[in-house]
């Protein structure tokens, strides 16, 4: 059998007297050593161990060898079976219904009571009234506080169920689902490698492309520079030639003027000025 089962309750069966020893020893260890109780953590089970255990136990309790038809698995009902008149089980009425109809059970109860009274099976003495008064009190308590009592006990049961079953099961399920979600995210994150590879590859390719384009630009600029140089050279040459020609002509003309010519020209200028002043005076 499984080690988990061995370590559990079945140890008492498997090891005979060992269990009694364990029960006898445990309270001493837990209680009377000056309050320093030794904490024994509950044994933890891995998922695989649990699955193995559940599979095995399922095969025992619900396996093919189990005769579930004649010996069904005991199941605790959620609610108590229904009653009539506060305390009488409804199933008793249902037992009578096919044979005697609706009034049968009442008639039977009345008839039985009458028969018991007449045969003095049920004697009306001082103690007789205990019977109806007791059940009357039961009915009254049920009528007054029944729902509260029921709520208290069902809450207790629910709490116990939560503590030993629902919460641990949900915790296990939640942890498993959380692990699944985390693992799925992890798988998603491995996609980073693909994107990073693409980014790196493109980085290299883009740099190559940039270098190529730089070369294109350089070629264009160099060719254009040379053409512009030729053009500019031509322009400068033309401008220089023009300037030189002008300078040359002006200087040649200046040189060709003699002292006589200068004198004459100055005199003609003075004469013109005089004429002008005479004209001005006449006008004024």
């Amino acid at each position: 059998m499984l080690p988990a089962l061995k370590s559990g309750v079945l140890r008492s069966i498997l090891h005979g007297q060992g269990a009694f020893r364990a029960i006898a020893v445990a309270p001493i260890r837990a209680g009377s050593t000056g309050g320093s109780a030794e904490y024994i953590p509950p044994k933890t089970y891995t998922k695989e161990e649990r699955i193995e255990q559940w599979d095995y136990v399922n095969s025992v309790y619900f396996g093919p060898e189990r005769d579930l038809k004649n010996f069904p698995n005991p199941s605790q009902p959620d609610q108590a079976p229904p009653v009539r008149m506060g305390i009488v089980p409804a199933s008793w009425f249902e037992f009578f219904y096919p044979k005697t109809g609706v009034t049968g059970p009442y008639l039977f109860a009345g008839g039985l009571s009458l028969w018991m009274l007449s045969k003095e099976v049920m004697v009306i003495d001082h103690y007789f009234w205990e019977f109806p008064s007791f059940w009357g009190a039961v009915w009254f308590v049920n009528y007054k506080f029944g729902s509260q009592i029921k709520k208290y006990f069902s809450d207790q049961l629910q709490l116990k169920q939560d503590i030993i079953f629902t919460r641990p099961i949900n915790a296990m399920k939640g942890a498993a689902q959380e692990t699944i979600a985390k693992c799925e995210r992890l798988i998603e994150e491995t996609e980073v490698a693909k994107h990073l590879y693409l980014a790196k590859k493109e980085g290299v390719e883009l740099q190559l492309e940039a270098a190529y384009r730089q070369r294109l630009l350089t070629a264009f600029q160099e060719v254009k520079k040379r053409l512009d140089y030729a053009l500019e050279k031509e322009n400068v040459k033309r401008r220089y030639e023009q300037e030189h020609m002008v300078n040359w002509i002006v200087s040649s003309v200046t040189k060709s003027i003699t002292a006589q010519q200068e004198k004459e020209s100055i005199q003609s200028c003075i004469k013109t000025l005089k004429n002008l002043s005479a004209k001005q005076a006449a006008v004024l």
Binding site: V9, A26, L196
Partner: protein, 176 residues
């Protein structure tokens, strides 16, 4: 002109939004750096001309003293073949090799993680096949849940809840 064999890149094929979505939160700064760097490469490419720019040779022809020079230049310029730069340090090969290595690691991780997921899925499906709470007897409950069921090795005091046991330290309580 560049030879047709060379694949030319002028735009990014990287899905940055998806990249940012899948990257672990702690590495988001690294991603930002990568993106910045990548963008500088891309910007540089976009700032430069895609093809050899045209030169207005006819204009030069009319203005140059020697039109044959423009003709010569035009012929030479049109015949100009600029070689595409070569990846001298074999960065592409390095990237490729890195990728292969990464692929191996990724495959390993995915196999491992997938196993974990499958194990947990099986576990959940097993939990769903367990009997309902009402269907246990005290005995069968201990077999199903040895840790929460009654264990004579670990006797408990009333009300038999784990948090009420004397060996469980309570918050703020002085434990002698």
């Amino acid at each position: 002109m560049a030879s047709k064999a060379v694949k030319r890149v002028s735009s990014s094929a990287v899905d940055w939004a998806r990249f940012a979505a899948v990257i672990p939160k702690v590495q988001i700064d690294t991603l930002r750096n990568i993106k910045t760097k990548h963008d500088t490469f891309l910007n540089k490419v976009h700032q430069l001309p895609e093809n050899l720019p045209k030169i207005d040779f006819s204009g030069y022809k009319s203005r140059l003293p020697d039109p044959s020079m423009a003709d010569r230049f035009q012929k030479a310029y049109e015949a100009l073949s600029i070689p595409y730069p070569v990846d001298k340090d074999h960065f592409l090969q390095k990237v490729e090799a890195e990728r292969e290595e990464q692929d191996k690691v990724v495959k390993q991780i995915v196999t491992f993680v997938q196993k974990e997921i499958d194990g947990n899925r099986t576990f959940i499906s097993k939990i769903d096949t367990l009997p309902k709470y009402q269907d246990y007897t005290r005995e069968s409950f201990v077999y199903y849940f040895p840790d929460t069921g009654f264990d004579p090795q670990r006797p408990t005091i009333w009300p038999h809840h784990e948090e009420d046991q004397p060996y469980v330290r309570k918050e703020g309580e002085d434990h002698h």
